[in-house]
């Protein structure tokens, strides 16, 4: 994407004021998005993102500069400006780039740019028709189609020089059900690190019906009760509980500066012994997977928690210095506009031994969260929240009537110890994760789990 000489010259200028590491990142990305509302294509947008980021380290400190221009003068000038922010003794570093091939873990069958847009619209129309015709109560359906191809190059003063291509595809289906002047919505958005074959093989019927089923169920539901109670969280997107309650607190971004409640706790019991949690960016074709991270490190499987014991964190190059620990292939960014840092990829609680039927049958009274929305966390305090999209009352070991409008809250360190049953039906689900280096695709996942006590924020009083 840039020639060797220009990369080496740029890195040399970046290190000319005392920096001890320099990196250049080039991104050339083609985006394609189509929005269908009420069965009509409402808007479409295609475009090309193009930019270059230059990063310099000096000890624990970093400088980052980006530009959209790739001509030699602008690049050298940008490197010079960035270098001006660094002060120190100049280290004599010889830069000797070696281009290494990247082992591609996400094999793409159909390049989405070769597919006619009318075919993409057909996929959307099928989702729309299925979702809209699901029930008379469905009053609106929106469908979002997205595909992109992101070509990147990363090179650094240690001699690393790699290029990679990431292709991702996603279909979002949002259904609205109306009844007696009230509206409720249901949402499903499967995605993968795949080309157009993702849409060809997708079980559109299932996802479209699920989105509508959730909306229809919720418009008929009463408000959720409030208070502390046992909560069963189903597999798939339910894994957002681990993502928020713990995952963010295990990112080096929070740990390196001692700002996470989990800092300094490797080797300690931080969760119930039945909890094992993994972050794995190397699963072929998954939404949160990548062959190399945005620093050029190969993705890998990182065991975060094993049988309740904290095994490790997700660590990027800069924070690895402060932590004096190894990098884990976890450094990610939304685009060249962001300096990369440690982030999650596909993060999930691993299978346990209970069947979902056992978990429900063993719960005398509580709440069953079948589908979850998103959430957030304050890593310093560990306080997290996430929304239930579809909930049910559980009584005497049976799932009873549906309830709506509840949020679950707690503190990460507490909730991990209160997981008292883990199912055997692990499923991953797709989301976008927003944090310091932007919004990135990430999987959350888990089998069905039970938390012995969580605060449920509903609108009705106690059960």
């Amino acid at each position: 994407m840039l020639n060797r000489k220009l990369i080496e010259d740029t890195l040399t200028v970046a290190l000319s004021t005392g920096g001890d590491f320099a990196e250049i990142f080039v991104e050339d990305r083609t985006n394609n998005g189509i929005v269908m509302i009420g069965g009509k294509v409402e808007s479409t947008m295609s475009g090309r993102d193009y930019g270059i980021g230059i990063r310099i380290f000096k000890g624990f400190n970093s400088v980052y500069a980006y530009t959209n221009k790739s001509d030699p003068d602008t690049l050298i000038e940008t490197a010079k400006k960035a270098a001006q922010a660094v002060e120190g003794d100049i280290i004599d570093l010889t830069i000797n780039l070696t281009k290494t091939n990247v082992k591609n873990i996400n094999i793409i069958q159909i390049d989405p740019t070769t597919v006619e847009k009318t075919n993409k619209v057909q996929v959307m129309r099928k989702a729309y028709d299925t979702a809209f015709n699901y029930d008379d109560l469905i009053t609106q359906v929106s469908v979002n189609y997205t595909d992109y191809i992101q070509n990147i190059m990363v090179a650094n003063s240690e001699g690393l020089w790699k290029e990679d291509t990431r292709v991702r595809s996603r279909l979002g289906i949002s259904s609205v059900a109306s009844k007696n002047g009230e509206m409720q919505s249901g949402f499903y958005a499967p995605g993968a690190s795949k080309g157009y074959e993702f849409f060809e093989n997708l079980n559109i019927d299932y996802y479209a019906k699920e989105a509508s089923r959730i909306a229809v169920t919720m418009v008929k539901a009463r408000y959720s009760p409030s208070g502390r109670m046992p909560v069963i969280i189903d597999n798939g997107f339910g894994g957002v509980i681990f993502h928020e309650a713990c995952g963010h607190g295990l990112e080096a971004t929070a740990v390196a500066k001692g700002l996470s409640v989990f800092a300094g706790k490797v080797g300690q019991q931080i969760a119930s012994p039945i909890v094992t949690a993994i972050d794995d960016g190397s699963i072929p074709n998954e939404w949160g997977s990548y062959s190399i991270d945005d620093e050029g490190t190969q993705s890998q499987r990182n065991v975060l928690i094993e049988n309740g014991i904290l095994k490790g964190y997700m660590i990027d190059k800069l924070n690895a210095r402060r932590m004096n620990m190894d990098i884990t292939g976890s450094s990610r960014r939304q685009s060249y506009r962001f300096s990369p840092t440690s982030r999650m990829s596909n993060t999930f609680i691993d299978n346990g031994s209970s069947t979902p039927e056992e978990i429900i049958a063993n719960t005398e009274k509580g709440l069953y969260a079948k589908h979850m929305g998103g959430g957030s966390v304050n890593p310093a305090t560990g306080e997290f929240n996430f929304a239930i999209m579809e909930g049910y009352i559980v009584e005497n070991g049976k799932i009873k009537e549906p309830v709506r409008g509840a949020t679950l809250i707690g503190k990460g360190s507490e909730v991990l110890n209160k997981i008292d049953m883990v199912g055997n039906n692990l499923l991953q689900s797709q989301g976008m994760c927003g944090s310091i280096s932007g919004s990135i695709p990430a999987n959350v996942g888990q089998p069905m789990i039970r938390v012995s006590e969580l605060t449920v924020g509903g609108r009705e009083g106690e059960q």
Partner: protein, 450 residues
């Protein structure tokens, strides 16, 4: 000028390929951000960036495309994408290129003195912000984030109906998040300032605001679940309004995605509630003279003493409803198609200060922070259930801090139950819009805790 010649070439290519009306939107800018950690300049970021988008009409439909490689090599892609995208549009709602308003009010959102502030001064400021925070209280264990940043942006809009508009603006911001610790108890506090007058940033005052917030929350616990009278403090009320802004969009109304459909000129909120969109507000960070379609912006009351007066329109939705556009077309960036957004959008302030409102409550809860606003609410149903921080009010006084609670309700119902608006109008961090609210006293919301 170089840009003009590129635009001419794009338009020429578009014509060759059969495009009718066309519009080019170009924006460029630069930014600086400085972050301090333990007295060192931990992160130094700078950028220079630009992007260009094209939209054009083909067979009566509007197609869009953009590029960040702003040179002649992108012309073919821009035109081809516009064509391909226009062809698949099958909505009957007509989008069109605008020839220009009669008059544009001048808006001054560029402050030249900001670009004259030296980098040393900025670094000195952000370092002193961190230092002040540590000085204020021994229980401040760390400063999680301490940032100063500023940016400059300019946009050019040019279309084949003869309209050329230009605008430039600059902005500075700073924020700090402090961590207070007492035993095992950890609390965070945040404070921010935005604006384009660097001299108005006072490190001592900002640090104190964040520290006071964190310290006051130490020792917080939950509260018994139930229905309480609630005061939502200004910044939290502004965030809640921001999350529900979409319900006022005519697009959402026309697409059956807003419960405000059919409610024009009806009473939908309490008499105390007036909601204003003012693109010319002094110090408004979303002030502008023209909207995303080049239409002159205008002042409007969206809700006047509880009565819904208008939705937000762009040219497309206005034509569909047979009304005049309200000048609320949004173009978030060259990457966005035309949407709808308010400008400086706020709840009109009332008479009394927050402490007077608190003094009135025999028992109630003051909510100071709402969390999970992107997930814990549904703008279609109006339902919300949000994690919150705040204080218990007993006998007209703040009695203790609260954590691990949620506040739940329905926004449409809540609007009817607003008993008072405070005098403390405050705006949130600017995004596409700049949204503000005073503290709001609500007759009963559901609180979940113990």
């Amino acid at each position: 000028m170089e840009m003009k010649s590129l635009i001419d070439k794009i338009v020429q290519k578009g014509r060759e390929k059969g495009l009718n009306d066309m519009e080019v939107y170009y924006s460029a800018g630069n930014s600086l951000s400085l972050k301090v950690f333990q007295k060192e300049l931990d992160t130094y970021n700078l950028s220079e960036s630009e992007g260009l988008s094209l939209r054009g009409v083909y067979n009566g439909k509007m197609g869009y495309s953009y590029t960040e490689k702003v040179d002649e090599t992108s012309i073919d892609q821009l035109v081809r994408d516009v064509l391909e995208n226009a062809i698949i549009i099958d909505s009957e709602d007509e989008e069109f290129i605008f020839e220009g308003s009669k008059e544009y009010k001048k808006v001054d959102s560029f402050n030249p003195t900001l670009s004259n502030v030296s980098e040393e001064k900025k670094i000195e400021f952000v370092k002193s912000l961190e230092e002040e925070a540590f000085k204020l209280d021994k229980r401040i264990a760390s400063v999680e984030v301490c940032v100063y940043g500023d940016g400059y942006g300019e946009t050019i809009m040019f279309n084949t109906k003869g309209l050329t508009l230009q605008e430039k603006s600059n902005i500075a911001y700073t924020y700090i998040v402090v961590v207070a610790k007492e035993g095992e108890d950890i609390k965070t506090g945040m404070a921010y300032r935005t604006g384009n007058d660097f001299n108005k940033f006072n490190a001592q005052v900002i640090a104190k605001e964040a520290v006071d917030e964190a310290i006051a929350l130490l020792g917080a616990s939950s509260v018994k679940s139930g229905d309480y009278n609630v005061i939502i403090r200004n910044s939290a009320a502004a965030e809640l309004l921001e999350a529900f802004t979409g319900i006022f969009s005519a697009e959402a109304v026309q697409k059956n995605l807003s419960l405000l459909k059919g409610k024009l000129n009806e009473k939908i909120a309490s008499d105390k509630f007036t909601l204003i969109d003012d693109p010319y507000m002094e110090d408004g960070l979303a002030s502008k003279s023209f909207d995303g379609e080049g239409v002159a912006c205008k002042y409007k009351r969206v809700i006047d003493k509880g009565v819904l007066k208008t939705y937000f329109h762009n040219l497309k939705t206005a034509k569909k409803d047979g009304v005049e556009t309200t000048g609320n077309a949004s173009k978030g960036s060259y990457k966005s198609s035309i949407g709808i957004s308010p400008s400086n959008f706020y709840v009109e302030k009332g008479e009394r200060e927050l402490n007077e409102m608190v003094a009135d409550l025999d028992k109630g809860i003051l909510i100071t922070e709402l969390q999970g606003l992107h997930s814990g609410l549904n703008s279609i149903s109006g339902d919300f259930s949000l994690a919150a921080l705040g204080y218990l009010i007993e006998s007209g006084k703040i009695s203790r801090p609260l954590e691990q609670i949620t506040v739940s309700g329905n926004y449409f119902e809540m609007l009817k139950n607003i008993e008072e608006t405070g005098s403390d109008l405050k705006f949130g961090l600017p995004g596409g819009a700049y949204i503000g609210s005073p503290s709001l006293k609500i007759n009963k919301l559901s609180i979940a805790g113990e």
